[in-house]
Assembly symmetry: C2
Homo-oligomer: 597 residues x 2
């Protein structure tokens, strides 16, 4: 019953008008991304998501995945055809290097497609999503032979990939992991251990599954410094690239989860499975971080995708459902009641979601552009600035977009009243599917600690100083602009809160680390509020320019500006509360003894 429409128009506006993607045509792959190509790629991606993937979303939830006694797993009806359409369209290698069969287009376009796929069908989208993460690690850390062996088939979509980190006793603290790798003497290793929560660990969509596995080489140091990364194919690959014997890895069970039923979350048993080291021994966590950063951005994008699809369906319902009359008198007197979209509280809810969606989409594109610059620019200063941005914003995109994405799915469900609670309406699925994004790829509390404990102090706070300066510069530059005043004044105020909070951390967290821990989540959200506020500033500026030039439909441009005004008036003031919490410090947080909780 629910439907999905990819936000093509918004994306093109952001790419062209807000971020001026044409300015980057000196970067590899960007010259090929002419406006026509970009529009065609995005339109084609939208079509696939709307017409093929979205209609499979509910069946995925209802059927889930089935594990058979032989350890094989069947995905829901239609998933294979949906996956084939995705792979066949060349989407897996959209931004992968041409030398392995990819199209080499900007990663930014891939991020846009990730949003569309997540909005249409998160569970199905995770099969290619994990594959892209695995490819990223192989691309950066794999040997040339490993790249030639695995990447072309993965880019073609004939093979898929996974990431194997978590074990029953460790998720966050990978230093505790026990999976063992024993050298076979021929350059390969025999891996033995149990991995849990392995998304897309086993399924019927691809000919082979390339597992990237963290394990400890026999005799390696304890803790995180003794962890290595291995590539372990489900079927061993012959020198000619054909699949051969079954490897010693199998799916022991699939989990019964709250949502994303269409994705097989597997317990994976490694029984002397043959694997090959990726990158250096004992530097596996380092190699894995490449995957994790890609994956964290992709998970943040899932939050946005779920928020968008939930919003669209809530709007459709709010326009359709007749209950009560507008406070200012009947708006549809010819009907037995007005559509509920006349009610201010309904509009407030919808606008809260929409104001997030538009700014979050901008934040994703901005950050994805930085990823492209970091990976493709020949200018070291530009690369460094882009890497700083990526490092700083990755936990914010992951943590804030998934926390808000979930909250928005819940609020959208609320618009349906009792019908929202009934599974056949589909809103419950959006909520249940969105929930996982706050948890996996580092629970959001970990993202907050990563931000406050690592990303913020790194290089003397260089990345953060640059971010603060950029936002401040924007505010000052546009403070006198009649159409932007209304955005710049509240943004400046909230930026002040972020500056104060940053200062407070500098003064209070060094001597007392618990102050950083107690502040982390609020700081991450404070930063997210300001970053999204800044995105609204940029969006408003581009919109005002379009209005001045008479380009675009005036009513639509006005609606966008009103949505932005809603954000700065209604959402942004939360920064004050966040600052108050942060500067309360950790005393009350640490005062209660563990046994008295």
């Amino acid at each position: 019953m629910p439907s999905y429409k990819a936000p093509v128009e918004d994306v093109l506006f952001l790419l062209n008008d807000v971020f001026g993607i044409a300015r980057y045509s000196n970067l590899p792959g960007f010259a090929e991304a002419t406006p026509d190509v970009v529009e065609a790629v995005i339109a084609e991606g939208a079509k696939l998501c709307e017409e093929v993937l979205a209609p499979l979303n509910r069946v995925g939830d209802l059927e889930g995945c089935t594990r058979h006694p032989d350890g094989s797993v069947t995905t829901p009806k239609g998933f294979k055809a949906g996956y084939d359409a995705y792979a066949g369209g060349g989407w897996m290698g959209l931004s992968m290097p041409a030398e392995y069969g990819g199209q080499g287009l900007p990663h930014t376009l891939n991020s846009v497609m990730q949003e569309f796929v997540s909005g249409a069908n998160t569970a199905l989208g995770m099969y290619p999503g994990l594959t892209q993460g695995a490819m990223a690690a192989l691309l950066v850390h794999g040997s040339e032979e490993q790249k030639r062996t695995y990447l072309p088939k993965m880019i073609e979509g004939i093979w898929t990939g996974t990431m194997n980190l978590t074990e029953p006793h460790c998720g966050t603290d990978l230093g505790l992991l026990k999976t063992k790798a024993v050298p076979n003497g021929d350059g390969s290793y025999a891996l033995t251990g149990t991995k849990i929560f392995i998304s897309a660990g086993e399924h019927d969509l691809s000919e082979n599954i390339i597992h990237l596995v963290l394990a400890r080489i026999e005799g390696a140091p304890a803790g995180t410094k003794g962890i290595s990364l291995f590539v372990v194919p489900k079927f061993l690959v012959g020198p000619d690239g054909t699949v051969g014997a079954r490897n010693g890895v199998s799916c022991g069970a699939i989990e019964h989860k709250m949502g994303i039923h269409g994705n097989a979350t597997c317990v994976m048993n490694y029984d002397g499975a043959t694997g090959w080291l990726v990158g250096e021994a004992n530097r596996g966590l380092n190699a894995m971080f490449v995957m994790m950063n890609e994956a964290r951005l992709a998970v943040g994008i899932q939050g946005l995708g779920q928020s968008e699809v939930a919003y669209q369906n809530a709007v459709a319902y709010a326009r359709d459902r007749l209950q009560g009359r507008a406070l200012t008198g009947a708006k549809a007197p010819e009907k037995p009641a007005d559509p509920i979209i006349v009610h201010p509280d309904v509009r407030r809810t919808l606008l809260t979601i929409r104001a997030f969606n538009e700014a979050a989409r901008a934040l994703v594109i901005w950050t994805a552009l930085q990823a492209d610059i970091a990976h493709r620019s020949e200018d070291p200063a530009a690369r460094q600035a882009a890497e700083d941005h990526m490092g700083l914003l990755t936990p914010v995109v992951k943590g804030v977009l998934t926390d808000r994405g979930f909250a928005n799915a819940v609020d959208a469900q609320q618009m349906f009243g009792g019908h929202g609670y009934i599974e056949e309406w589909g809103m419950s699925q959006f909520v249940r599917d969105a929930r996982i994004a706050q948890i996996y790829e580092g629970a959001n509390g970990i993202q907050a600690m990563d931000l406050v404990g690592r990303k913020l102090p790194r290089d003397g706070g260089r990345a953060m100083m640059r971010f603060l300066a950029e936002v401040e510069g924007f505010c000052k530059e546009n403070a006198e602009d009649e159409s932007l005043k209304v955005f710049c004044a509240p943004l400046m105020k909230s930026l002040g809160h972020l500056q104060q909070a940053t200062m407070w951390l500098m003064q209070n967290a060094m001597a007392k680390p618990d102050n950083a821990g107690a502040a982390a989540t609020d700081y991450m959200h404070l930063m997210g509020l300001v970053a999204l506020g800044y995105m609204w500033g940029r969006i408003a500026k581009a919109t005002a320019e379009k209005k001045r030039s008479g380009d675009g439909i005036a009513e639509r441009l006005d609606a966008r500006l009103a949505t932005g005004r809603f954000y700065v008036e209604r959402v942004l003031p939360e920064t004050g509360t966040r600052l108050a919490r942060i500067s309360a410090g950790s005393d009350a947080v640490m005062a209660v003894p563990a046994e008295l909780f």
Copy 2:
């Protein structure tokens, strides 16, 4: 796997030390509620919930209810025995009048038991919960004959009850309802129509089901002024009280819901079913409001119950799960890692939930005491004050306790990382079950509108003025007390925000009702924050007194005070954001045309 322990000690502290229940011994039923009786009742209720109802919670989720082709419904395995234990313990009539077989004890005790039942097993607790709602309406509006016919059996638990309001095209806007009642000429009516979302509408727990049904008598005016309330038993009742022929009401389907699977949510078909008018014709909504107020408080209590059980299980996990080391150095160096409860962000999350639970429990007991005074006092001024309080606080208890209860269940689930998303751990069920409480008995947006549009302006704002004066009086009275300063100063500040918001509404909502609508939800939460802050003030005062008198374990009293400090430092500052949103007005909210959402 999850467990539940009823918060007996907290409840006794609130009843005895904070609210001094002994002071009310002049009210009917309170004299019998001696400290010994209260303690025995609560201990017995706790035992039933912990040992009988809680163990049935997960089976209820897994099995759900089954409708058979003949329209009969089977509840999950063990529910019948669990229900019988509840009914057999006399819990249904705990606070019902003795003349119909009840125990006549304070409703306050019943509210305490409602929390325990909700924490142990919300889905099972709804069968007696709906029965209590139906009994309340019969008690106030039923004829003496109706009371004699139905109440004794319902109090005994041999019969259960339901509330039939919603129809497919109307939930919030009952003025649209179509179910028809045609006089049979013998004083009875023939009811025809379809009702949906009828909790406990059909099941195998009781001999008879007494449906209270809203319908329109043929020829009655359109809209809400033509609605009457009827009692429609599943089996007609003979003059001797025995059940006779099947009435023309049946369950057409049960809904597939996100949660509370153990409760049968039914589509009820009325095909000329025989019913009898309850109260006056065309005054049905009025009669139904009695049920709805009871039900709204009970639903708010569900939010608290879910928050409490989710908290308990999150704490147990956080004490047990070993990941990482404390920021200030290993706390359990003999173990491979520290329990995650050492981490400030984990403690922050847990304390946010706990600080809510303790204050929300106080708010429930305070409000339930007012219900007792309103119903039982002989002093008209006391009755009026209590009724004012009830009217004002009912939407706050319903809306805020369920919004926060759900958010807390989600946060508690988050403590489990990936395990929280796996159904067998039980945390997902708490989240899914808690979700409904925000929706039913008037979605929370409706509660907010009820508060701002009806309860606040009623009688020139008398109830609100009394509430504000009481909180202000408390703050002023205790501002100089060394141990209470830390509570009074922030509470006074937040009270100022509530006063400003109230003033803003008075000045801006009369001329422009959209300002009230756009402010409603934030106002409800602002009021909730202050009310819970006031509860913390009362709790802190009683705790400080206990400490001074050397009564109680000092560490526990200190832990409670630290939890309260956490509330005023970390939660209460949100009032500033709420005020900012409210005073932003409705311009941006109303600016976007419906078709451009």
